[in-house]
Amino acid sequence: MTVDHPTQTNPANKDTQEPSALVIGGGVAGMQAALDIANQGFKVHLVEKTPSIGGHMAAIDKTFPTLDCSACILTPRLSEVARHPNIELLTYSEVKRVTGKAGNFHVEVIRKPRYILEDKCSGCGDCSEVCPIEVANEFDEGLGFRKATYLPFPQATPNVYTIDKRDHPACRINCPAGVNAQAFVTLMNQKKYAEAIRIVRDAIPFPGTLGRVCVSWCEGQCQRGEYDESVSIRNLHRFLSDYEREHNTQVTVEPQIKRSERVAVVGAGPAGISCAYHLARKGYPVTVFEKRSEEGGLLKYAIPEYRLPRDILQEEIQWVAKHGVEFVCDREIQSIDELKDEGFKAVFIATGASHSNKLMIAGEDSKGVYHAIDFLDRVASHKPVELGERVVVIGGGDAAVDSCRTALRLGASEVTMIYRRSQVELPAIPSEVEMARQEGIRFMFLTNPVEVLTQKGTVQGVKCIRMRLGEPDHSGRRRPIPIPDSEFTVVADTMIIAVGQSVEPIPLHNDLDTTEWGTIITDQVTLQTSNEGVFAGGDCVLGPATVVQAVGQGEEAAISIDRYLNGLDIRAGRDPEVYRIARPKIDQSTFIPQARAEMPHQSIASRKGDFSEVELGFDEDTALDESGRCLNCTICCECMNCVEACDRDAIDHSMKEERLSLNVGAIVVATGYKLFEVSKYKRLGYGKFKNVITAMEFERLINAAGPTQGHLIRLSDGKMPKNIGFVQCVGARDTQKNVPHCSRVCCMYGIKNAVMAREHDPEAKVSIYYADIRAFGKGFEEFFEMSKTRFGVNFVRGRVGEVDENPENDNLMIQVENTETGSVEKVEHDLLVISPGLLPADDVNILAEELGIALSDEGYIDVRNELTSPVDTSKMGIFVCGCADGPKDIPDSVTAGSAAAMRASIVLGGMIAGQDSEHTIESLAPEAELETTKSR
């Protein structure tokens, strides 16, 4: 037809460039549709959800009725699609939005990040080899394992790997220092201790120290905690450090200073050391100034030795020093200029918050009253401390608990901790509190001191008042409110006040803007102060916080300083990300709870009077066991082993989801099917008995490329099954389960599987329990006949009732009514294979809604006219093939793919010819409808 009336040409068609089509779904039908459209010279965008095209067929072992090897016949087709110049393969992608109409659809496609660059990957598998994560391989129906970086199957197309990474791990994003807990836990679980500790050290220089004293927010958020108890992450990195010390496997470090710009760090506490460490690793010469005579800050002066042996701390500081960091002690920096004059190009201030807060009550200055930090500092510095018999400690933080336990070790006979809120609000590390309790510390909660009772200026006791909890305050904790007239007295001869610290006003701070509390004001992200080139972090910015926060800030500051010295925008791209916490995929019904490993302790008796370490550390078995509890929430743990292994720089962990916009003239939907969830039939025992498997699992078990290299075994004991039963019509032809129709392929694949079972073991007995054998296609009946005569498959007409397991041998006892003999038979099988019916693919309803096409009652895509246009959907220009509109076998799917391509190409051909929409309607409308419209 020529264009008689050019004016009538749909103007919307004018600006569409080259006519192209969209095919949704890369199974065998979608591939065929794409090829047949592309072979006409049109462009095709083939969108596939999973990393590879091939669909279900790729997982099938043999195909009925010819017993062709599925992979053999499919592989050439896969590469044909991959190499076709007119086909753009968009795997790992999903169609999001569709607008427009036939001849001019606008489609938005989301490309999920595969974290591997398709054009660089050669499919060599080096990344997969070093990947520490193993997860159930969905391609093998979960029977085998794959890595987090994987190729779904050997012939996958495109032949590129995909990294399976989902959202973000709670442990890692909750760590202020950004320690990649999931990665190091995973690696250590594989005894890769050196690699694991390397991961820790990428974030912090203190695996041993933080492994003992960290507040462990990671554990607080650990998803394992949602099921039983969180993973003991802190203790695990302590183990790594212990292991390294014990086995002397610490890697030697050489300074790698290659920059000329010197950086000064003021304050050798955790923040300062962390900053210096990261800067040195970046190649900067760093000098750390410390006003006291030793490095370590509060780690050294405030944390008691029984928690953090000093040799450990010292070694870790030394290790930082080995990176080329210079420590200058006993020097207090007075001004920024002082440093600039000495030639430092950037400064990091981390002077901490060592000033103890006061209670502001009467008698606070009496003899026998200590402030916690001073107290702990004195003890740590081996200075004399006078301590009575009865010690009262005020406060609920770590310093309070430390003070209690230190007092006990110094000989106090009775130590009481007084805290104004309840135990729930106690900010100290719970395990520390627990140990304190074990050691005999008494706790008085909801109690607040109001006056120190003295005699001759010496403490005699504390007058306290009872408290109750009111509404939550700004910190989210419930505010304590004194209960009137509830005062009482606690007898004490020593009192330690541990109600927090604050920043000491020191001359250096005068050069910088500070808050009313004396903390230094910095940019929240970059940590730059009001003074350019001067950065600050740790407690002097945060106020008294935790060690790990300080360490984290040190690292952030190092990044800023590096950028600053390189003349880069120090802020760009560093806005805090919004993370979505990964939820592990756990089947609650099969989850076996396991408590977290307990930390062995010194006996309580030996702790008293002794400052040796209380927590003894995990032994290797415990550590391995505990690390095995990690749920790998995000699958990929970003250990970066793959990045290192890849010679082609093909891995990019920072890849983001992409959105593509496409203009297409026609759309083919080939979204396929999913298998019925056979566990819905409780009586068949799937999921309960190991030797009840699905047909798809059977396919993988007999497949040479499957998890058992093609050895058909029972999952309970690995033995070869000798008597196999196949149960047909599960999730098909059952109105009660809302699957009224026949799935069309199950009879044949059931027979095929039975034949394959006999081929694998000619001695095996094989029975099929069926309702009707529907061997209707080309060569099917002949194959059915052959299965009986040549392969000796036993066919029993009857539904299988209750399945039970014989506990002795894991065999399955089934009851079946043989409808041909009328007798109820009890049969024992050692393997039962259930043939599930087919269902519409997941989310096909969402897609259909987006496309504006109708669905049938069962949820398949409806076709316009079953008789005359069986691949047209209800919407012009959108076609359907394969199992998307109902169950089909492979040849019927392939033919439908070609047919859909044909119909789509009529639209595309009309576009080239510039034909009007009238023409397209005439070509595509089912003739019957057309006639009626015309005759009306």
Binding site: D68, C69, A71, C72, T75, P154, A705
Partner: protein, 147 residues
């Protein structure tokens, strides 16, 4: 100028030399998969790719033995699976005749092996290579063999 490299069974370093003709569609792909799956097998075989086992003239096998191959493997698609419909059936018939002739001539027919290995049967392919090599090792260098 070429000469037949001589080897001897006495030589402890003697390794059989195997020519393996594989069809492009099944066994060559199966051998590829063996590699991709890192299935390890002895390195004695040299694979020659032909389109179809039907391409294999009996002379290719006999000449290889004549030139000093200690064994010859032919590996193709399973009967019924031939990419070209039936080339493998013709190969199989030729093989049957040839095997008998080889035996009649006094050469142990265990030096030659015809196997079917599909593109997904990497293990079967590798096992087949190993089986032939084991058989040939048992027999020793071909030049010494005489019934």
């Amino acid at each position: 100028m070429v000469a037949i490299a001589t080897t001897s069974k006495m030589d402890p370093d003697w390794e059989p030399r195997i020519i393996a003709y594989c069809c492009n569609w099944c066994s060559y792909a199966g051998a590829d998969l063996a590699g991709t799956s890192r299935i390890q097998y002895p390195p004695n075989a040299r694979i020659l790719r032909v389109n179809c086992t039907g391409r294999i003239d009996v002379e290719f096998i006999l000449a290889a033995l004549d030139m000093g191959a200690d064994g010859v493997l032919v590996s193709g698609c399973h009967p019924g699976d031939c990419h070209y419909t039936s080339g493998n059936l013709k190969a199989r018939a030729r093989w049957a005749l040839m095997e008998k002739v080889i035996e009649q001539s006094g050469v142990n027919p265990k030096r030659v092996r015809l196997q079917w290995a599909s593109a997904s049967e990497a293990q079967i392919f590798a096992d087949g290579v190993r089986t032939l090599i084991d058989q040939v090792k048992e027999l020793g260098p071909i030049k010494r063999e005489w019934r």
